[in-house]
């Protein structure tokens, strides 16, 4: 636009209308090409190539080795344990997430923002430290160690420790997803239900739950992926007892360290498959909720 510099004696009629065409705010083709190229190269090298590598390595010694690796009794035991851990930590944290989101989103109370921050704490804790705190609490030399030993309860280097550490790590997922969602939805629909005579349980089941179901599912899918894939925290508390306290990621580690690369990647490919399914479901849910992808 040059009219402004042309002098002071112009009138409004002389000023051309501001360009509404895309060209005024679109990037030149070479910029566009360069940026797309950089993004593709970056994502290709850092995301796509590793994903392809997992499957490539898994089948590098043939389908026979692959099938042997994933049907090995130790691998099956690891899968069972991983499923068990998820089967406990997912529902427990989902129930917590819904309860916390209900209290936080539907009521006004003192200390609310403190509670919201506290819920996110596990996100800020290193997985290794998450494992360590339970070793310090329940381990043989831990605060409760002597009492536990006396009563014959084993938590560390046993399944309960793995479950507890995983539940700690995955604690915020559902709450973190539901709190903003329910805050945004407000309380009007619930109030309408109250004025129409619905009971507390009816309000939750018929009004609130259908409204948050997609968000809840979204949180659960991410929670599940993390619960099944957690490595650091579980590694610290598990004791790596084969067939007993090895989850799938720990089994992958053992195979890899024993130079059974193909077998390690075979088991890893199942976890990678879980990741791909998680991404697809996540994307479908985001699309159904009509919103953009979000990081945790």
């Amino acid at each position: 636009m040059t009219s402004a510099s042309a002098g002071r004696d112009w009138t409004l009629a002389d000023v051309p209308p501001p360009p509404r065409t895309a060209s005024a705010v679109a990037d030149p083709p070479w910029v566009r090409g360069l940026l797309i190229g950089v993004a593709l190269l970056f994502l290709g090298l850092f995301l796509l190539l590793p994903l392809v590598t997992v499957f490539g390595q898994a089948f590098s010694k043939g389908i026979g080795v692959y099938l042997d690796a994933i049907t090995d009794p130790m691998a099956l035991a690891a899968m069972r344990l991983t499923l068990l851990v998820a089967a406990i930590s997912v529902p427990v944290n989902a129930v917590f997430g819904v309860a916390a989101a209900w209290a936080i989103a539907k009521f006004e109370f003192r200390g609310k923002s403190l509670l919201i921050t506290a819920i996110d704490l596990p996100f800020a804790v290193s997985p290794v430290v998450s494992g360590l705190i339970f070793v310090l609490l329940f381990g043989a030399q831990g605060l409760l160690g002597p009492w536990l030993t006396l009563h014959g309860v084993k938590i560390i280097f046993a399944i309960p420790g793995i479950v507890i550490a995983t539940t700690f790590i995955t604690f915020p997922f559902v709450a973190h997803e539901l709190i903003p969602l329910m805050q945004e939805q407000g309380t009007e629909e619930e109030e309408a239900a109250v004025s129409l005579g619905a009971s507390g349980f009816q309000i939750f089941r018929r009004v609130t739950l259908p409204n948050i179901s997609l968000g809840l599912l979204y949180g659960i899918v991410l929670l599940n992926a993390r619960a099944m894939g957690e490595f650091g925290a579980v590694s610290v508390v598990s004791g790596h007892i084969r067939g007993q306290t090895n989850t799938m990621p720990l089994h992958v580690e053992i195979l890899y360290n024993e130079y059974q690369g193909a077998a390690a990647f075979a088991v890893a490919s199942l976890l990678a498959l879980l990741a791909v399914v998680t991404l697809v479901v996540k994307r479908v849910l985001e699309w159904r909720m009509g919103r953009a992808s979000r990081a945790l």
């Binding site: 109030e191 309408a192 239900a193 109250v194 004025s195 129409l196 005579g197 619905a198 009816q202 009004v207």
Partner: protein, 336 residues
Amino acid sequence: MSIEARSITKSFGTFTALRAVNLEVKEGELVALLGPSGSGKTTLLRIVAGLEFADAGNVLFDGEDATERSARDRRVGFVFQHYALFRHMNVFENVAFGLRVRPRRERPSTREIRERVHELLRLVQLDGMSERLPSQLSGGQRQRVALARALAVRPRVLLLDEPFGALDSRVRKDLRRWLRQLHDELHITSVFVTHDQEEALELADRVVVMNQGRIEQVGTPEQVYHEPATRFVYEFLGDVNIFHERAEDSRHGGIYVRPHAVEITRRPIGDGAVSARVQRVHVAGPTVKVELVTEFGDLVQAEISQEQQRRLALTREDAVYVRPNESRVFSEDYSI
């Protein structure tokens, strides 16, 4: 059912929403709570509905204290400003909700529910829409679904929060007329909140004008418009000019006069006329709008008929005389 609110007080933190408000609504009446935003009208409505809790005061239904009765048990139909329709339920399910959540003993049969819902949908002229989701309806249709839903439980009182607030002006006017007809048919005690004086004056049997947590005046539309009790009511219910007839008038608040009650003449006529100069004349529209400045410096808006304008032929800079017909003076001790 009659409603009575006795010295209701409510504050949110440091903000006082209601200051010892008293209100009575008679059986079968249609009452408007009128006021600017922040005047406490919605809070009062929500307290009557049991959705909000007063810090002090009582709510009585038919003379019976209902202050501690839960919203669930009050049998109040509430229409929310943004309708609060259950977004995952279709129109039919929205309307049926209040019937379906009744305890098993009191719950109507499926057939009865269906009949009742369709009867209500016919009443609100949405019978063909029962399968639609709220997101597939226009604003006016959503409004009517919200009304049908509230009526489904046979409420003893109908409360509406800014019922037309989210609609465009055309739909607003149609719905307004339709709601009045509906009220005349059903005769259910109704209270609605609005910030639009035209809406309140046209629709309500009685208007309650609120300001800053207090009731300024309660009266029929004629009373509040023609005999406003306070300066606030006068100013809120229509355009207003503040006039000084003598220079020393500036000591007190001056004379309040509506634009249509300003008389313009070419010659001084009798008492109370003040000389003025015409600033602008808008001839478009049903009336002619004239802006003038009086000899005391007051800016005055007047509305005259096209007929009068043909006679007076006012143009800019004309020297004329203006006189307030139907004016009011408010005592000086009143202050906001």
